[in-house]
């Protein structure tokens, strides 16, 4: 396979330059506030370095963090806010276009293909799109996902094995079948390289790191039915009020974020830039068998120990012996209970209703 020249050059350079070689072998997270938290929280399940080379916007990182929480990421609300902030500031979108990244940094993103994957030049891809639309799109479809007269090019091995035209050029200049008895248009090497960038851009768009990671539209419900559920079966009025804590909530959150907040109020929410929703911590009152009660914010609990921080900021912990009494107050317990009751219609109606609270 004919591999890209620049990539080879950089690899060769990495071999002869000791400092570069060290970097190439051990990708490290940028040294900035929050790095230790990323290492601890993300690194508990996977190498924290998977984030390298997959720059995203703050909003997109918020979605990633929300997704990870749903998969069991462990941390306090402050940890998740710190992780999102670190990623948004240090693993930025500028790193994913290849111009500010080394080959090794491209390596361990969320959709992990080959290290030498083609780095899409967006300007070349735009030029390539124009040529593609004029000469290829009618058979292969506008997104290159195939159409009646031409196969899917995102799934094409000629494309997936291509680097900067390496397999595409010989194919298009000799092997591509004729269309309705006529040979396909004659394309120059530069045009084919541009088409290569366009096609690899379509492949990248199909990967999990592509643009199809956004909630499209959750405003499909009936606001009046949502209002009825809010004050009726949902029992939301026990804690909330449309003119009190929820006044103006629609101005503070977009609809997808509102939907997530009402269902999963503890977790970071997409659309809010990863801002952590759980302002209200779980509080506990712990009473030792022959001692005085202490109350505070729950710091840790497992089968064997419990820890809290009291109003003065002092940390206390106990072994969970049979005589130790624990009373727990989870401000979001009612939301948990709702999950087993809500229908999808209820969810959409509630979001529609909350969106009226401008």
């Amino acid at each position: 396979m004919n591999k890209p020249h620049w990539s080879k050059l950089i690899r060769t350079a990495a071999l002869v330059l000791p400092a570069a070689a060290v970097f190439a072998q051990s990708p490290v997270l940028p040294d900035a506030p929050g790095r230790d938290t990323v290492q601890r929280v993300c690194g508990a399940c996977h190498p924290a370095t998977v984030v390298l080379g997959r720059g995203r916007t703050r909003e997109e990182w918020g979605q990633v963090v929300a997704n990870m929480i749903s998969r069991g990421a462990k941390g306090t609300p402050a940890d998740f806010a710190s992780v999102t902030d670190y990623l948004a500031k240090n693993i930025t979108t500028g790193q994913s276009n290849g111009k500010t990244t080394s080959p090794r940094r491209v390596r361990r993103g969320f959709s992990m293909g080959p290290d030498d994957k083609q780095i899409v030049d967006t300007e070349a891809a735009e030029r390539g799109r124009a040529v593609y639309m004029s000469d290829c799109g009618s058979c292969h479809g506008p997104l290159a996902r195939g159409a009646k007269n031409g196969p899917d090019l995102v799934r094409s091995l000629v494309v997936l094995h291509d680097r900067y035209g390496s397999t595409l050029q010989p194919y298009l200049q000799g092997q591509h079948p004729s269309v309705e008895g006529k040979p396909i248009a004659k394309l120059t090497g530069d045009q084919i390289k541009d088409i290569s960038h366009f096609l690899h851009q379509q492949v990248d768009n199909t990967l999990r790191s592509g643009p199809y990671t956004k909630v499209l539209n959750v405003m499909t419900g009936d606001a009046a039915a949502g209002a009825a559920y809010f004050s009726g079966a949902g029992g939301c009025g026990a804690c909330h009020s449309a003119t009190g804590d929820l006044a103006g909530i629609a101005s503070r959150y977009d609809p997808p974020t509102l939907q997530q907040r009402l269902l999963f109020p503890r977790t970071a929410a997409p659309g809010s830039g990863g801002a952590v929703a759980a302002e209200k911590p779980v509080t506990v009152k712990v009473t030792p068998e022959n001692g005085e009660s202490l109350s505070g914010t729950l710091v840790h609990i497992d089968d064997f120990t419990i820890a809290l921080r009291d109003a003065a900021g002092t940390y206390y912990s106990w072994n969970r012996t049979p005589g130790l009494k624990i009373e727990r107050n989870d401000p979001y317990a009612a939301h948990d209970e709702l999950l087993d009751k809500l229908t999808d219609k209820d969810v959409h109606d509630l979001v529609a209703y909350l969106e009226t609270l401008k």
């Binding site: 992990m112 293909g113 290290d115 199909t206 497992d302």
Partner: protein, 524 residues
């Protein structure tokens, strides 16, 4: 292989060289070895050792810690692999690295590092062994064979195409002269497969595809040839094997595109299926599909555990799986017929169970543009961490999670590809479930304080169950009651399936947590 070790394998019973696996060990319960991913081919992860018991587990002590980061310089190498222990040496892996350490002391004997060309470095489930050769897969799609004595590379073979975003993570399982390898990856739409490779040369012996070819059985469950050819079904958890029936049992992964099902209407065989393959040919003997036409990423790869039991007064050869979709299945492993279907956590995505014992998916709970509230979430009611079956209690044990999430379609274009959607959510609860295989009912449940448990399970003849919780505790519970009896905070969540073996009259329990492997022992 040299002549002597070849003779030893052919003529079982002769004195073997050090660091060589006697193939007879693979057909016995693991006692002084742990020679394959699950200890033996059954997948039960039950140790017949009882020196450590519910009576004395409080005297279990730390013997050693081995940190992979000391050898690799990378703190991110989480130990998800189950170590093999053969002749006093432990062999285990993280992506791109294999380690041999002294099973008595934890001292490193050798460390092999693979120079990667890419792929997903999410986890590696371990190594397989044949004679004195080791086998492991790399994220960049290679099967590598090493000499167990010194970790030197013998050969490597490409087993998948990185450019299609395949990657490789599963522990090879050695059965006779077959090295069984699987593949991972679902970023682009690609078919899954399982292969048998020659242990000497790495050459292909057979190839089984998770998706059929046009006209083959199962092809009627796909709308067209293209959807079928790109239909997924990865093979990323080690298989189990019945030496008498000569059948290999495999759970396959999710169909692709992952969350958008509109281009692949039908049941999508043989994705999210438990399949039985003839070990010598790779031909399909039977299948059972836990999740027809899944759109939630609920791989049915969880270990299909084999045991013999009694159902309705009849002795049966059984297979059981606690599947990622929340259902527990018991099958007759001679023919794949369903014996029991039950929920091991409460779910909301099925309309019921059909006459074949399969859940019937509710189309309203497929991902939607405006979201569908579904439980389990994508992480699943269970996942790859190995469960256990104890013949002493007759219970199937699995670490389970019940969580909701909202499943969205992100790509509503005409032909969605790749993932095309995802879930968002959080929270939930986790618990260790002890399931009675005869009824499918939960005998006892031990709820953890947190959520998102990802720890494997080991049971022993000492009435013990070893596992991890949602914090960082490694815990021994009474396998009969679920009462915690002993624990230690390892500083990171238990990240693999624990194992046990006896050496010099002492019983050891080995567990991975974060970047480290821990050895615990009860000395005589």
């Amino acid at each position: 292989m040299n002549l002597r070790s070849l003779l030893c394998i052919v003529a079982a019973g002769c004195m073997l060289e050090a660091q060589t696996l006697d193939p007879k060990k693979l057909l016995q319960p693991p006692v002084d070895s742990w020679p394959t991913y699950n200890g033996d081919y059954s997948g039960r992860r039950f140790s017949t050792l009882s020196k450590i018991s519910s009576e004395n587990v409080q005297t279990l002590t730390l013997a050693w810690i081995y940190r992979t980061s000391g050898a690799t310089g990378d703190l991110g190498g989480i130990v998800k692999s189950t170590p093999l222990m053969v002749d006093g040496v432990l062999y285990f892996s993280i992506p791109d690295h294999v380690f041999a350490i002294d099973a008595r002391s934890g001292h490193e004997i050798w460390h092999f590092s693979w120079t990667s060309k890419g792929g997903w470095h999410l986890g590696n489930r371990g190594v397989g062994m044949y004679g004195n050769w080791l086998y492991f897969e790399t994220p960049d799609c290679h099967l590598v064979s090493l000499n167990s004595k010194d970790g030197s590379e013998r050969w490597h073979k490409q087993i998948c195409d990185l450019d299609q975003y395949y990657t490789a993570s599963v522990a090879p399982v050695v059965i006779g002269n077959h090295v069984i390898v699987g593949v991972s990856g679902d970023d682009l739409d690609i078919p899954g497969y399982l292969e048998s490779r020659d242990p000497e040369t790495g050459e292909l012996q057979w190839h089984w595809s998770s998706v059929p070819k046009p006209g083959e059985p199962g092809s009627e469950t796909w709308p067209n040839v293209e959807a079928m050819a790109h239909g997924g079904g990865m093979t990323w958890v080690p298989s189990t094997f019945d030496p008498e029936l000569r059948l290999l049992y495999l759970g396959t992964g999710n169909p692709q595109p992952v969350t958008a099902g509109k281009g692949r209407k039908g049941n999508n065989l043989f994705t999210e299926s438990i399949v039985a393959l003839h070990i010598d040919t790779g031909k399909l003997a039977w299948y059972f599909q836990p999740s027809p036409h899944d759109t939630h990423d609920w791989d049915a790869v969880e270990t299909p555990i084999l045991f013999d039991g009694e159902v309705d007064g009849r002795a049966r050869k059984l297979l059981a799986q606690a599947s990622r979709n929340g259902y527990f299945f018991v099958l007759d492993r001679t023919n794949g017929k369903n014996v029991i279907t039950s929920e091991f956590v409460k779910t909301n995505w099925a309309k019921g169970v059909n006459a074949n014992g399969q859940p019937i998916p509710n189309p309203a709970k497929e991902p939607q543009v405006d979201g569908a509230l579904v439980t389990p979430n994508q992480g699943g009611a269970a996942n790859w961490p190995p469960p256990s079956f104890s013949p002493a209690t007759g219970l199937f044990y699995v670490n389970a999670t019940r969580a909701f999430s909202e499943y969205y379609i992100f790509d509503d274009t005409e032909k969605p590809e790749g993932w095309s959607g995802n879930d968002r959510g959080g929270g939930g609860e986790s618990m260790l479930q002890a399931i009675d295989y005869k009824t499918g009912k939960i005998r006892w449940s031990h709820k953890w304080e947190g959520t998102g448990v990802r720890s494997g399970v080991l049971t022993t003849a000492g009435n013990l169950l070893f596992t991890g919780d949602t914090s960082s505790n490694f815990i021994a519970l009474d396998a009969r009651t679920g009462d915690p009896l002993w624990h230690a905070n390892l500083g990171a969540a238990v990240s693999n399936g624990p194992i046990s073996y006896e050496l010099d009259g002492a019983q050891y329990v080995i567990v991975g947590a974060g970047d480290a492997l821990f050895g615990f022992v009860k000395r005589p």
